[in-house]
Every structure is written in structure tokens, then in C-alpha cells.
């Protein structure tokens, strides 16, 4: 069995590598064709019209060619062709890694991708072609934004804001310390005679330091995603990597400007400080503006749901580009835009658009990340390199040293202000997780001074490789070894949500009593401001006044319904019931009385109202069909039905006195997807399945109340009245027997006739 499996995987691996070679060959042969094709068209400009683009040069002979049935015209599509080929290669690689499970468990994906890039670069070079390099424009304008948007949109807000102070200190002060320490020390190193790099002056060294000091969000994401570390550490390292962009931008531009001048005056340094504030705050403002615009636009999209996701993407991208126009921090702008936009947009858009946004962001960021790492590998092979042993080695050592010193020193100061202190283990992980990545490479690539540029680039690439390969590979065993707390797989629990909110208010109240305006006080004020003013403007309809608890609850219901559809069987039901109460209504005197499950009729009516409203909305959408409308997705329509059916099933379950809910919810075998995962995981559903028991359940009586919580209303079905009478008579004397009797009546969840029989 194992042998077969390994043989299979080996064969697949062989196929994959074969494909790889084929692709590379095609790419390589594609490029020179493009070049020669262009030359030919240049040579014969006159005789051609735009739609007449034949490969053969048109000669002036009178010889009449036959009509070409099949023509080969490549340069017409060369550019998109090559791009698509590269992307396809990257994705096939991604697929290939998971076929070989053992490798992908030890080695993080980023390492494998760089390795593939090295291979491809090597192959291309061996064919004497020039491989494409990670062009800076390509990187900053096309590859980086999707990753950052994905990160920003799904940023967990609560831990981020709670640790904002720490994150900012690490990002700003830490990066500054890194830059100056590395720059300064490298300058000292360059003074060593043996290194033969005496020509590197202080400013260039500082420039180099500023490039290499920044922690890279792409690399951090790629590595940390796989190790599932606890939320606090994850958000610390990740938040730092995002927010240090402002510092990097300012330092880079500052030193680059003055590397030419040669000196920096105090005035320039002051301007640099001012510029830092402008860059960061400006970037955030730009992001906020676009975020608000996006949220506002989403308020009116109820009639054209198809284009909703596009608004999200475009507004965010515009935020990034606008910030880049003014040399503000594009990353911070993108993050701010995503963070601001998300709560309002999610309240406005349809469920499908939400899924689309999630899917697309994940998809784009995944492709980008893969491409970045592959190109990194290819660019490494391409060079040009200027390997200087002392420079590179010292750079590496200094990077590690400065990171460790920085983290330890800053944590010492930060811990004085934190309630939950950072332990030594935490500090180690934070220091170890300071990975460098493609941003450093691209910034280095932008340098203009070629002589030092090559040396710098070599050193940068070495550091990147070291951090990604060595640190990336060893962080997982280290995390295990140090027994660092992992991420809690917490199920979305309504009790926890209730208590989270309760705690918020409680702590705010205590702060008010104590008399100092603390953290919670301002958070509470912000929430109130948000609720009274902002939500009214940015959220459409009556959802603007929906309390958070309700939306949370509705979301949970939605997830439950989806899961139910997927699993296809009503046999195992989640415990979340919205229409049952386990205890006796308090009207019945001492609370220690025997409790009988009952379903509140009014509650059920309310559910029906909600479901009816949903159904109406879907029907309205269907009324006018055009090419730009979505087909009525049977899933979404039937979801309300499913929900309703689920309620019925649950009611009927309650009737039979069983709380048959498994204590842990995750045991439905036929469900293929995991539910109750953190928000940014993507749900999929299998549309072919549908609840099989749906039909049987439709015949349930509309309202069942074993205990009349509310007085009997006129116009009820006769059966209800009968049941009501039965229980009324049974109520008075012996409450003990009653539940037994009823349970025997209703314990068999069968079709209508049986119930009637049982009752009669």
C-alpha cells in the first residue's frame, strides 16, 4: 500500500517535473520569437494594415499565395501568453507540492517555491536566454497589493487594536533601531582593509540598512500561516510587518536623496521626522477616505449585486495607487481602507458577494505570493552578483543580532505598560519571526548606483534566503519544542460573544466608577459614535440599527444552515436551536419544577417573518433577468427553506425531549468542509446534496406548544387546540407523568398519521 502510494507520487512528481521542463522550453522559445516578430513587422511597415498580420514578409512578387488555412502568429499574443504561462507554472507547482506530503510538511511552501524559481532560472540561463527579473514596478503595482489587501481585509481587529501600542513600538522604533544599527555597523565593517569595500560611505550604508531592516509581510504571512501560532504573537509580528512600511518608505527616500548629496544636515533629519508623520498619517487618511467611499457605495448596490465585489477591490486598489502617487505609505493606506470598509460593506452586500470577495482575495493573494517567490528564485540566478564574503557574512550576523537586541530591549520597555506581559518565549518567537522578503529585494533593485547595487543585492538576497530557508524551516520545530501556545480552535459560541460584550460594558463601567478615562472608555465612545452616526450613513436599510449580537447570531444560523445542506442529513443536528427553551416558563411557580421543552410560538412567527422577508428579496431579484444578472442560485433560495426546515426539525426534536446534540459538533461524517472556522477561511458547499428529510418534515404541524406560554389564539388548527386541551388538563394534577406521556407521543418523528395515532 505504501509502496504503491509512493510509486504513484513518484510518478506524479516525474510528470510534474516533465511539465515544468516543457513549460520552460516554451517560454524560452516564446521570447526570441517575440523579438524577431517585432523586427519583421518593423521592416515592412507600409504594406501592412492592422488586421493583416501575417508572419511571412510580404514580398513584391506577383506570386499569388494560397489562402492560409492555418497560420502561426505568435507575437500577437506573446505578452499575455507568457504571463499566463508563468502563472500556470506557479500554480502547478503549488499543486505539485501537496502531492508529496512529507516534503511539504517539513519545508514551508515559500522555500519550495524559491527552489523551483532557482531551477527554472537555471534552466533558462542554461539555454542562454535572459530570464525575467522581478521588476520593481511589477512587484509594487501588481504583485504586492492583493496580498496586502487580503491581509488587511481579514485583519482580526480586536487583537490588533488591543496590541496597537506594542505593534507600533516594534514597527517604528524597532525598524529605526535596526536600520541605524545595521547601517552604522556595516560602515564600521567597511572600514576594514581586508574587505576592499572602503568606497562605501556612511550614507550608502545607512541606505542599505534601511532596506534590509524591514520585516516583510509576505514572508511572515507565508511562514506563520502554516504554524498556527497563538493569536497574540501572530498579530504582533504580522502587524509590525505591515506598519513598518511607513518607516521604510521614509528612510529609503531620505537616504536615497542624500546618498547623492553626500551629507545630511540636522534640518534634513528634522524634515525626515516630519515626513514620517506625513507619510504614515497621510497614508491612513487616504485609506480611510476610500474606505468610507467604498462603504457608502455599497449601500446602493442592492440592485446590481454582481458588481459588488468589484467595488471593494477597485476602491482598495485606488487607495493604494493614490497613496503611492504622493509617496505616502501605500500599504498603510490599503490596510486602513480594508479595515474601515469591511464592517459596513459586509452588512450591505449579499452573501454571495461576500463569498466572492473572500474567494477572490484568497486566490489573488495566493497567486501573487507564489509568483513572488518563484521570481525571487529566478532573479537570484540571473544576478548580477558581486559576492563579497565579509560584507555578506557581517550583514547576516548583524541582522540577526540587531533583531534580537531590538526585540529584547523594546520588550523590556513595553512590558512596563502592558497588562499581559510578553514572556521570554514570546520574545524569542517575535525575534525569530522577523523574516525579510521580496520588498527588501525590490527596494534594492531600485537603487541606481550600479557598483554598490550589485553588492547590496547579493547581500540582500543572502539574507532573504537565510531567513526564509533557515528560519522558515526551523520555526515550526522550535515552536513545538518551546511549547508555544497554539491558536485555539475556538468554535463560534454565542455564550462567548455574549460575555465578550458583557465584559466590554462591565469594564467600561468600572473605569467610569474609578474615574479615569481608559482604554475601554474611549472604545465605548467610539462604538457609540459608530452606532449613532456612521452606521446610519453607511449601511443600507434597517440593518443599520441591527445590534452586533443579532448579526453574530444570524451569521451563526447561516453557517449552520449551510452546513446542514452540505451534510444532507437531518439526523445529526447542531445544538443551536433558536426556538426552544429548556426550562419551564416561570409562570409555573417555583423554578425548580420539572422543565418541559416548549417552543415559543411568537418566536417561531418571528423566524417565519425573517425567512419570508429573505424569500421575498430573492424573488424580487429574479423578476428581471438580464445577462448581467446572476442565475437564481438554487442554493441561496433554498437556504431560507433549509433554515426553515431546520427549525422545524429542531422543534420536532425538542418535542421528543431529546437533546441529541453531540457535545462536540464536528462529527458529521458527510460534511466535507469544516465549519466554525475563523472568519477568513473560505466555505465551500456541495450543491448536489440537499436535505433528504425535507419532504417528510413539511407535514409537521405549524405550531406546537407543549406548554402554553402564550394564551391560545383564535384560528389555530384543531389539532393544536386538542393538544392544548390535553395538556391543560394534564397540567394541573401530576406534572411528573405528563412529560412521559408526551414523550411517548412524540418520540417517533414520523409522518403525520403516526402522531395523530399516538395522540389519540
Amino acid at each position: 500500500m505504501a509502496g504503491l502510494g509512493s510509486e504513484c507520487s513518484r510518478r506524479l512528481a516525474g510528470c510534474v517535473s516533465l511539465l515544468l521542463l516543457v513549460f520552460v522550453a516554451v517560454i524560452v522559445s516564446a521570447s526570441p520569437d517575440a523579438a524577431t516578430g517585432a523586427n519583421e513587422t518593423l521592416r515592412h511597415p507600409s504594406g501592412h494594415s492592422l488586421d493583416d498580420s501575417h508572419d511571412h514578409p510580404r514580398n513584391s512578387s506577383e506570386h499569388r499565395k494560397a489562402f492560409p488555412v492555418l497560420a502561426f502568429n505568435y507575437e500577437h499574443v506573446s505578452k499575455p501568453f507568457v504571463i499566463s504561462l508563468w502563472i500556470l507554472l506557479a500554480l502547478l507547482m503549488k499543486l505539485g507540492f501537496h502531492i508529496i506530503p512529507r516534503v511539504s510538511h517539513i519545508v514551508p511552501e515559500s522555500c519550495l517555491l524559491i527552489f523551483v524559481g532557482l531551477l527554472v532560472g537555471g534552466v533558462i540561463k542554461a539555454m542562454d536566454q535572459t530570464p525575467p527579473v522581478l521588476d520593481t514596478k511589477l512587484f509594487f503595482l501588481y504583485l504586492l497589493p492583493p496580498i496586502i489587501l487580503d491581509a488587511g481585509y481579514f485583519l482580526p481587529i480586536r487583537p490588533f487594536t488591543e496590541n496597537m501600542g506594542t505593534i507600533l513600538v516594534f514597527a517604528v522604533v524597532g525598524t529605526l533601531w535596526n536600520a541605524f544599527f545595521i547601517g552604522g555597523m556595516m560602515f564600521a565593517v567597511c572600514q576594514i582593509e581586508a574587505a576592499r569595500v572602503g568606497h562605501v560611505d556612511l550614507l550608502s550604508c545607512l541606505l542599505f540598512g534601511s532596506i534590509i531592516s524591514a520585516v516583510d509581510p509576505v514572508a511572515v504571512l507565508a511562514v506563520f500561516e502554516e504554524i498556527h501560532i497563538n493569536e497574540l504573537l501572530h498579530i504582533l509580528v504580522f502587524g509590525e510587518s505591515l506598519l513598518n512600511d511607513a518607516v521604510t518608505v521614509v528612510l529609503y527616500h531620505l537616504f536615497e536623496e542624500f546618498a547623492h548629496e553626500g551629507t545630511v544636515t540636522v534640518g534634513d533629519a528634522l524634515l525626515g521626522v516630519v515626513s514620517f508623520f506625513v507619510v504614515s498619517v497621510g497614508g491612513v487618511m487616504v485609506g480611510v477616505i476610500y474606505g468610507v467611499l467604498g462603504a457608502f457605495t455599497s449601500r446602493f448596490t442592492s440592485h446590481s449585486r454582481v458588481i459588488e465585489p468589484l467595488f471593494v477591490f477597485l476602491y482598495s486598489y485606488m487607495a493604494y495607487l493614490s497613496a503611492e502617487v504622493f509617496h505616502l505609505s501605500g500599504i498603510m493606506s490599503l490596510i486602513a481602507c480594508g479595515v474601515i470598509m469591511r464592517p459596513y460593506v459586509e452588512a450591505n452586500i449579499s452573501h454571495k458577494s461576500y463569498t466572492t470577495i473572500k474567494y477572490f482575495l484568497k486566490m489573488w493573494s495566493s497567486v501573487s505570493e507564489t509568483l513572488i517567490f518563484i521570481f525571487l528564485g529566478v532573479s537570484t540566478v540571473e544576478g548580477p552578483h558581486n559576492w563579497n564574503w565579509i560584507f555578506v557574512i557581517f550583514t547576516l550576523i548583524l541582522c540577526l543580532l540587531s533583531r534580537v537586541l531590538g526585540v529584547v530591549g523594546l520588550t523590556f520597555i513595553i512590558n512596563k505598560f502592558r497588562i499581559i506581559k510578553l514572556t521570554k518565549k514570546d520574545q524569542f518567537i517575535v525575534a525569530y519571526g522577523g523574516l525579510r522578503g521580496a520588498i527588501a529585494f525590490s527596494l534594492g533593485f531600485l537603487l541606481t548606483d550600479t557598483e554598490k547595487k550589485d553588492m547590496f543585492l547579493t547581500a540582500i538576497i543572502t539574507v532573504i534566503f537565510f531567513t526564509v530557508f533557515v528560519q522558515g524551516m526551523t520555526i515550526r520545530p522550535l515552536v513545538e519544542l518551546l511549547a508555544v501556545k497554539k491558536k485555539k480552535e475556538s468554535k463560534a459560541s454565542i455564550n462567548e460573544e455574549i460575555h465578550t460584550q458583557f465584559l466590554d460594558h462591565l469594564l467600561t463601567g468600572i473605569e467610569d466608577i474609578c474615574g479615569h478615562y481608559g482604554h475601554h472608555h474611549w472604545k465605548d465612545k467610539l462604538n457609540r459614535f459608530n452606532r449613532t452616526y456612521v452606521k446610519k450613513w453607511l449601511i443600507a436599510g434597517d440593518r443599520s440599527s441591527e445590534p452586533q449580537l443579532i448579526s453574530f447570531y444570524n451569521k451563526m444560523e447561516m453557517k449552520e444552515a449551510m452546513m446542514l445542506v452540505e451534510s444532507g442529513s437531518a439526523a445529526k443536528l447542531p445544538s443551536l436551536a433558536s426556538a426552544a427553551s429548556l426550562q419551564n416558563a416561570q409562570q409555573r411557580a417555583p423554578p425548580k419544577q420539572r422543565a418541559i421543552p416548549s417552543i415559543s410560538k411568537t418566536r417561531e412567527q418571528e423566524i417565519r417573518k425573517i425567512l419570508r422577508a429573505n424569500l421575498q428579496k430573492t424573488r424580487q431579484r429574479l423578476r428581471s433577468y438580464s445577462r448581467h444578472d446572476l442565475f437564481s442560485d438554487p442554493f441561496e433560495d433554498s437556504m431560507s427553506e433549509i433554515r426553515f426546515r431546520k427549525q422545524r426539525v429542531q422543534m420536532e426534536r425538542r418535542m421528543s425531549h431529546y437533546l441529541t446534540v453531540p457535545a462536540n459538533r464536528q462529527e458529521t461524517p458527510s460534511a466535507r468542509k469544516v465549519w466554525f472556522e475563523p472568519e477568513h477561511k473560505v466555505y465551500t458547499y456541495d450543491e448536489s446534496e440537499s436535505p433528504r428529510d425535507g419532504a417528510a418534515l413539511e407535514t409537521l404541524p405549524d405550531t406546537v406548544s407543549l406548554l402554553s406560554e402564550s394564551p391560545q389564539r383564535p384560528g389555530q388548527s384543531s389539532r393544536l387546540r386538542k393538544r392544548g386541551d390535553a395538556e391543560q388538563s394534564a397540567n394541573a394534577p401530576d406534572s411528573q407523568e405528563e412529560p412521559q406521556k408526551l414523550s411517548r407521543c412524540f418520540s417517533d418523528p414520523g409522518p403525520k398519521e403516526e402522531e395523530e395515532e399516538g395522540e389519540g
Partner: protein
């Protein structure tokens, strides 16, 4: 801070510090606040809490104020609520919100967690019978949602019901037909909030600096502290 009130001696502070774990500066600041709230009297009453303007907007202000007058939080056994509290009681209640100190052992951390959860439990269990019944839990949810005027009580009830069912499923699992679920006992409560890291959440930063003068108070009578 007039001559009406003699400032408590250093010795009292030592006792309090030992009992509650606050530092001397924190105790003196809280004492100042206590006197500010009580208009320099010895005891604090419910009306004094009503002066705090910021508290009016809080949906669970009643429960919060009640928690200060709850005997169970003073670790006393008598059932009837008190009508006025001394500074020591005030401090004891406040000490529930102290962050755990860094070098605490694991058992101490568990103890701290239990104490905090006990405090929360007492807040929910308004009739003091040791269990949180459905009605009490419903009340909690309704209070939380009381911000939103247009809400029907049925929605709140539905949520509370769902929450209770969740508790039951976590703690009892499969229930026989003749079993019933009385309410959330303290053990169930502990189990319910297992994943909830309350020892790091239920904390207030108690300042070592005096910021009480920044906070405004509604002055009903003319005797206001500075």
C-alpha cells in the same frame, strides 16, 4: 479633603494592600475617588453611583452597581443586600479587576480565574440561589440589547434560549427524556467559559497617577470636591 475626614493611617493601608493586592498609591487614589463619590462621607450609597454621568449610557449599569452592594463579593454569607458600603468593601470589589501579577504560579492563576468568573457569575445570578436560570440569562441578554429600541423581546429571548441550549449541550451532552436542565451552576459556568481567557481580559489598568480630577461628576448638592 476637608477637616471633616481624617485621612486613614498608613497602617490601614497596609492591611488593605495585603488583603486586596493593590499598591499604596493605587489605594490612596481609589480612596480619593471614593470620597469624591461619597461627598466625603464614610459610606457609599447607591445614589452616589448615580452621579457618574458616563455610567448612564451603560446598558448594564444596574448590575454593575448591584455588584458593589452584593454581599457575596465581600465574602460574607448574609443574604440581604446592603444599602451602603465602606471603602474596604469598595476596594475588595475593585480588586477583582486587578491584572494578575507576572510571576504567578499556575495554581494561583487558576485561582484568580475562578475568582473573576465567580464575580461574573454573581452578577448574573441576581436572586442569589447559586444558579443562573433562563430568566436571569434572558435578562442579561435583554439588557445588552437594550441599546436598540426597536427590538422585540422575542429576539432577545431567542438568543438567550440558544445560549442556554449551548450550555446544556456542553455540560450535559445527551439528556434522557426525563431529565431537565435547571440552570447554569458555577461549575457549568466554568466549563462554558473554558476557552475564554478571562484572566487576561477582565482587567483594568489601575493608575499610579491621580487622574480622578479629570472625571466629571454630576453635583447634585453644592458640596462638591474639587
Amino acid at each position: 479633603m476637608g477637616s471633616l475626614q481624617s485621612s486613614p493611617s498608613h497602617q490601614d493601608y497596609v492591611d488593605l494592600a495585603e488583603k486586596t493586592g493593590f499598591s499604596f498609591e493605587q489605594i490612596s487614589i481609589l480612596h480619593k475617588r471614593f470620597k469624591q463619590l461619597s461627598h466625603n462621607e464614610d459610606k457609599l450609597r447607591r445614589e452616589h453611583f448615580g452621579q457618574i454621568t458616563d455610567l448612564h449610557a451603560n446598558p448594564i449599569r444596574e448590575q454593575i452597581v448591584e455588584a458593589f452592594f452584593d454581599r457575596r463579593n465581600f465574602y460574607q454569607e448574609i443574604e440581604e443586600p446592603v444599602s451602603e458600603i465602606s471603602f474596604e468593601n469598595f476596594l475588595v470589589v475593585m480588586s477583582n479587576f486587578r491584572p494578575p501579577s507576572d510571576n504567578m504560579s499556575q495554581e494561583k492563576l487558576v485561582k484568580v480565574r475562578k475568582e473573576k468568573l465567580r464575580f461574573l457569575f454573581n452578577m448574573h445570578d441576581t436572586d442569589k440561589d447559586g444558579t443562573i436560570t433562563l430568566e436571569e440569562y434572558r435578562h442579561v441578554v435583554e439588557e445588552l440589547l437594550s441599546y436598540y429600541e426597536a427590538l422585540e423581546t422575542e429576539t432577545a429571548r431567542g438568543i438567550a434560549d440558544a445560549a442556554m441550549l449551548e450550555v446544556a449541550s456542553i455540560t450535559r451532552g445527551h439528556m434522557e427524556p426525563d431529565e431537565f436542565y435547571e440552570g447554569i451552576t458555577f461549575e457549568h459556568f466554568l466549563k462554558l467559559l473554558e476557552g475564554f481567557d478571562i484572566e487576561s481580559r477582565m482587567n483594568i489598568r489601575f493608575m499610579n497617577m491621580d487622574t480622578t480630577t479629570l472625571c466629571k461628576l454630576e453635583c447634585r448638592n453644592k458640596v462638591c470636591s474639587e
